[in-house]
């Protein structure tokens, strides 16, 4: 377990730095985690984060990679709707970085 503090409020994380309580997430939390991950959040990053959060709220799990890429096609057009662009945005990968910044738990399994 770990934690971090923003403006006097403490946020609990798991051993890998993922937010424990999804409801505590806010943009400052996202920016803070992105900072640790050395990811600079642009408009495109936010769109991915927002999609992940909305999807999680409905399905209680992060979207499958194909669903995420399909959504990116809708958001950014066919040239950017691919995993290369996803890794451009989040070099350590969607599970390790995008989910983390979006406040989602880390997907585990044989993945």
């Amino acid at each position: 377990m770990g934690s971090f503090e923003i403006d006097g409020k403490t946020y609990e994380t798991d051993d890998d730095g993922y937010l424990v309580n999804l409801d505590e997430w806010n943009e400052d939390v996202a920016k803070y985690i992105a900072g640790i991950e050395s990811v600079e959040l642009t408009e495109a990053h936010w769109e991915v984060v927002n999609f992940l959060r909305n999807y999680y709220q409905e399905y209680n799990i992060a979207p499958a990679i194909k669903i995420l890429i399909k959504e990116m096609k809708k958001m950014f057009g066919p040239e950017k709707g691919n995993s290369a662009y996803l890794y451009d945005l989040y070099p350590a990968g969607p599970a390790l970085q995008a989910c983390k910044i979006a406040g989602l738990p880390k997907p585990t399994g044989c993945v």
């Binding site: 799990i61 499958a64 669903i67 350590a92």
Partner: protein
């Protein structure tokens, strides 16, 4: 007053509980970007031993809540020592082989350089015989006359907290791949010893987070990934749309269709991750073109069974029992298993004892069948056609999954687990190259992430353990331009996708056998 307050808030050295002492790595874990493998040289070399160099490798401990959900103690039992010895006694009685392995090792040394974790970490304690010795020391102390009387002189050692810490470390640096057993003149299977060690540790309250959390997820949600029925349905529907867009045909990914001829059981990673999902598309295209009715099932939405990794027969059975429910519900005639290494071992070697006999299934087919034998049979009978040129971008090699290679068979002939996937690959592409024969088939090296070690808290170990395989791959990459590493295991796929870039190889080099099939299969009307 003010003084005492000031000292109270000062950073005091954290006092670790006994359990934390067992689970705490002796050196801090590196961050992913700090982990760099050695440069690959011409051949796999036997390293100069660096004693204790891997002692810091320890996975996270499982939290009390999930330990208790699995029926294990939430903390290190106060009577852990006696409880561990009693459990060891039970296991020695229950598993005759374990008792034999304790007694017959002659320290010949044949196994020493056969373990990928030893080769990768250089730590002498990762030699299979040394790993087993951690168990044997305790065995001698409490279960042999010489050990009881002579103690250390007879290689016996009291089970204390330090030794337990070593157990936790080194029995989680074994992927239970059984490579060592192939080279042991007595067939001693260190994998079985490490399963027993993990079983004893869970029994006294020392569990590993990654594996135990996943078993809890299977019980609670239905699969390793934690994908609930609603998400599974939505995911399959979305993937069906993709398939239609790609092929122009209505290729289905059916779920819970009662009365389907085939019940398909595959690792949940196939629904979710890349490159796993490419094989899922392959299965769907094969079934579609074969014109057979088939379905996935919500109840059995996971082929994997992590109960094996912790040596727990009870957990293995409980996880496997989900399949019984699925068979009762769907009433299929055939049962086919997707690309998953340890799942196939369990399916082939244990399902019958765990949840068999499968009397309701059609006895004209194997119960269960592996997807590779099913597809190859269709190819051989001309029931589906493959256009090899569709894979002309690839020079392919195959990594045998250890659980398939050394824990199971496939088809009717001995060695079918090697020839069937290879024949299938060769039917789907024009260029196939074999890696060094010392690293394939029954001598295959583990991917480095098997046996419940596919977790980022063991990333450094995973990178190091992949070295022998990467070495062999590197060679055929240089000599033949190999650019596709064909796999039949979800864990291998995840492991390589993550580890290849560390060795300077693109992650998309790793892919499934049915990914090649998905590329090559001719869809549409049959002549």
């Amino acid at each position: 007053m003010a003084d005492t307050e000031a000292t109270a808030t000062e950073e005091e050295p954290k006092v670790l509980t006994d359990l934390e002492k067992v689970g705490e790595p002796s050196v801090p874990r590196k961050k992913p970007n700090e982990i760099h493998p050695d440069d690959l040289v011409g051949k796999i070399s036997i390293p100069k031993v660096e004693e204790g160099s891997a002692a810091g490798n320890k996975p996270y401990l499982c939290k009390p809540e999930n330990m208790e959900k699995l029926g294990f103690p939430g903390d290190l039992r106060t009577d852990w020592h006696d409880a561990a010895i009693a459990k060891m006694g039970d296991l020695l009685k229950k598993y005759k082989s374990l008792q034999v392995y304790m007694d017959i090792c002659v320290k010949c040394g044949s196994c020493t350089d056969k373990c990928h974790y030893f080769l990768g970490t250089r730590d002498g304690k990762n030699m299979p015989v040394a790993r087993a010795e951690l168990f044997r020391k305790v065995y001698r102390k409490y279960f042999t006359t010489e050990g009881k009387i002579l103690g250390k002189l007879a290689g016996a050692e009291r089970f204390d907290l330090d030794l337990l810490g070593e157990w936790y470390s080194y029995f989680h640096q074994c992927s239970q791949c059984r490579r060592c057993s192939v080279f042991c003149p007595y067939g001693i299977d260190t994998a079985e010893i490490s399963m027993a060690a993990r079983e004893i540790m869970d029994h006294i309250g020392v569990g590993q987070k990654y594996v135990n959390d996943i078993i809890v997820k299977v019980h609670d949600v239905g699969n390793n990934l934690g994908m609930n029925p609603k998400a599974l349905k939505a995911t399959l529907e979305s993937t069906e749309e993709d398939l239609e867009e790609e092929t122009g045909q209505k290729i289905r990914l059916p779920l819970d269709e009662v009365g389907a001829e085939v019940l398909m059981v595959t690792p949940s990673a196939d629904f979710f991750a890349s490159p796993h999902v490419e094989s899922l598309l392959g299965y769907a295209k094969v079934f579609h073109q074969a014109g057979i009715s088939w379905t996935f099932s919500t109840a059995a939405s996971e082929a994997g069974n992590f109960g094996m990794f912790i040596g727990s027969y009870g957990q293995m059975q409980k996880v496997a029992s989900r399949l019984t429910d699925a068979i009762q519900e769907i009433k299929p005639k055939r049962l086919i298993v997707g690309e998953c290494g340890h799942a196939w071992r369990i399916a082939y070697s244990f399902w019958n004892t765990l949840i068999g006999p499968f009397d309701s299934l059609d006895p004209n087919y194997k119960r269960p069948e592996h997807i590779c034998e099913y597809t190859l049979d269709l190819v051989n009978r001309g029931a589906i056609k493959l256009d090899k040129s569709k894979n002309d971008d690839f020079v392919v090699t195959m990594h045998d999954s250890c659980n398939v290679a050394r824990g199971a068979r496939m088809g009717d002939k001995p060695g079918g687990q090697f020839t069937i996937p290879r024949d299938l690959i060769k039917a789907s592409c024009n260029r196939y190259v074999e890696m060094d024969e010392e690293t394939i088939m029954e001598k295959t090296f583990c991917c480095g992430g098997g046996g419940g070690l596919l977790t980022d808290d063991l990333l450094e170990l995973r990178v190091q353990g992949a070295m022998p395989r990467m070495q062999a791959f590197h060679k055929v990459q240089e000599s033949h331009g190999v650019n596709f590493l064909a796999l039949i295991c979800a864990i291998c796929k995840a492991q390589f996708t993550k580890i290849l870039p560390k060795y300077g190889v693109g992650m998309d080099v790793a892919g499934g056998v049915h990914q090649l099939i998905a590329n090559a299969i001719e869809l549409g009307a049959k002549e």
